[in-house]
Amino acid sequence: MYWEPDRECMGKEELEQLQFERLQSTLNRIYSQVPFYRKKFDAQGILPEDIGSLADFSRLPFTTKEDLRANYPYGLFAVPLREVVRIHASSGTTGESTVVGYTRNDVRIWSNLTARVLTMGGVTKDDVVQIAFGYGLFTGGFGLHYGAERIGASVIPASSGNTLRQIKIMMDFKTTALVSTPSYALLVAETIREQGIPPAALSLKYGLFGAEPWSERMRREIEEKLGIVATDNYGLSEIIGPGVSGECREQNGLHINEDHFLVEVVDPETLQPMAAGETGELVITSLTKEAFPMIRYRTRDLTSILPGDCPCGRTLRRMARVRGRTDDMLIIKGVNVFPSQIESVLFEFEGTEPHYQIVLDRKGGLDEVTVLVEVGEAIFFDQMRQQRGMMERIRKRLAQELGITVEVRLVEQKTIARSEGKAQRVIDNRTL
């Protein structure tokens, strides 16, 4: 099922022409309408017409989160405020929030793009879609809400929180598709089990998850516990919100809506382009945004462009699920560590739950790392000796993977605080 087959299955040449035309008009517009970009281009001696091909495009300067903050709140808007019909702000996972705007056309295009993503994940007009993302400044709730409505599905704007009530709605309203963060889906699954509700009492078929990194093992776990097909989708408010890319039912990476976004993957240190398949920082340029165009925005998200075609028939290239953020990178004992590396090690072990926390302390000037990981009852009530054996094995595997020694503690289920939004994986108690 496609939402816009003529776009999603476009020929490569045709797509490149369209991207180039859209890039040209975006550059012409921002150069005359956004002083920030004009100054930046002038400083490098670049005029919009110097960009004669998609390849030339790498001459343009990057835009960073700091640029957005320095132009808070409206400095990067390309239209007067009276043409803006919606304002959102980033969730501020890492620091001060940033403000973005949408014209009426932007909202329409946004709805279309999230409709594509929802269709890729299986949603049709016959579905009942429960949106358990926060409705507010965060783009997740509204973005997918519009897409689901555009498709013609029945939308339940449940918003986030109050898990018992969410489950009641899910049962009573016969929800068929859940839209939330993956960690929230797990919380729902656990709560259902605690309440003794059989998964069959739910009508759920699809789960569309995003807004935080997750793993393949977590997917399997959610699919099994809730009896659904779970797909990943990606977006960020600085670019548009959800709708940048999404997985189809092949579950082999996220198709990027390339007719609206130009993507690159660069080395976060050298800023040089990475080859297909290599992991680096995702950089996105918007091609159709009116109110808040973005040129080469450094997303800080780590991913790669996957080579090869997708059996679903879409020609839109795919990106790997986001592995983490460049600014999630922890420097522990001088070594670069990504929480996602720790997560993938933990998930190699039978009996661990997909909940963990990384606690950093500094004692006597030395970094200490403790990884708390929840384990199932079977293991927890086991012999101390066996528990210790498991801790030892995890510790060794982590040392091997990360190159540093890490303390491991097994904790009982539900010890680690659950979050209704994005999970907090790292607690850094270090003070310099």
């Binding site: 035309e21 040209q24 008009s25 012409n28 517009r29 005359s32 239209v79 043409e83 056309n105």
Partner: protein, 244 residues
């Protein structure tokens, strides 16, 4: 069908087109809107080969036509209906039409030209009524029909229309736009339409581009452009007060 990348053109030291790109698929109606002097006519003349391009690429059905002479481009199937009709006023309607077939005289027999004439008369019965009248005596709308008819005699697959609504009464403008959609429906033509009458053009086009001082600043489906505030303000004559 037509794919243009970074087209540059001008007159003497004057740069008119600054890297203009556009594409149009088979059977599409695409419009380029823009103010006087934006470079719209220069754009069509450059595609048609009446004006030399200084750079860029013009692919018509994958063939590079940028350096071809105008008559070659016509015989490949891409015809221009020029701004201001450019008819031969002292000649009859019929003679003007037949001139349109001249690039193919050698290849076509008289019966074929006659059949093409009949098709044009079928589309514009008013031209049939005035077949023997001098072109200079026609009304503005009839002259526009004649100019389109003349282009059809070259058996194009693609038509470049330069301001067909210019100088016409509102009722005639509507009629001409209706004829343009018939050209696609009945003749299977692909149409690139350059217009100052943005509202009329966007109403019949699938997609549109906005040209400003030789640069494309917007492009997209017609409904998106009609909803764009800049387009509304600059080209649809909607005032800032109405907006508020």
């Amino acid at each position: 069908m037509l794919r243009i990348k970074n087209l540059e053109a001008g007159y003497g030291p004057l740069k008119v087109l600054r890297k203009v790109s556009l594409h149009i698929g088979p059977g599409e109606i695409v419009t380029v809107i823009g103010a006087n002097g934006a470079g719209k006519s220069t754009f069509l003349k450059t595609i048609a080969g009446l004006l030399g391009a200084r750079g860029g690429e013009v692919l018509f059905e994958k063939k590079d036509i940028r350096k071809l002479p105008a008559e070659r481009i016509v015989s490949l199937g891409c015809s221009l209906v020029p701004e201001g009709r450019q008819l031969f006023a002292p000649m009859t309607v019929r003679e003007n039409l037949i001139l349109g077939a001249c690039v193919q005289f050698r290849r076509r027999r008289h019966e074929e030209v006659r059949a093409d004439l009949d098709r044009v008369f079928g589309l514009f019965p008013r031209l049939k009524e005035r077949e023997e009248q001098l072109a200079g005596t026609l009304s503005g709308g009839e002259q526009q029909m004649l100019a389109i008819g003349r282009a059809l005699l070259s058996r194009p697959r693609m038509l470049l229309l330069d301001e067909p609504s210019m100088g016409l009464a509102p009722r005639m403008v509507r009629e001409i736009f209706a004829h343009i959609t018939r050209l696609r429906r009945e003749f299977g033509l692909t149409i690139l339409l350059v217009e100052q009458n943005a509202r009329g053009a966007l109403a019949i086009a699938d997609r549109g581009y906005v040209l400003e001082t030789g640069r494309m600043v917007l492009q997209g489906p017609s409904e998106d452009l009609l909803a764009n505030k800049d387009v509304q303000r600059a080209y649809l004559g909607r005032s800032a007060e109405e907006d508020a």
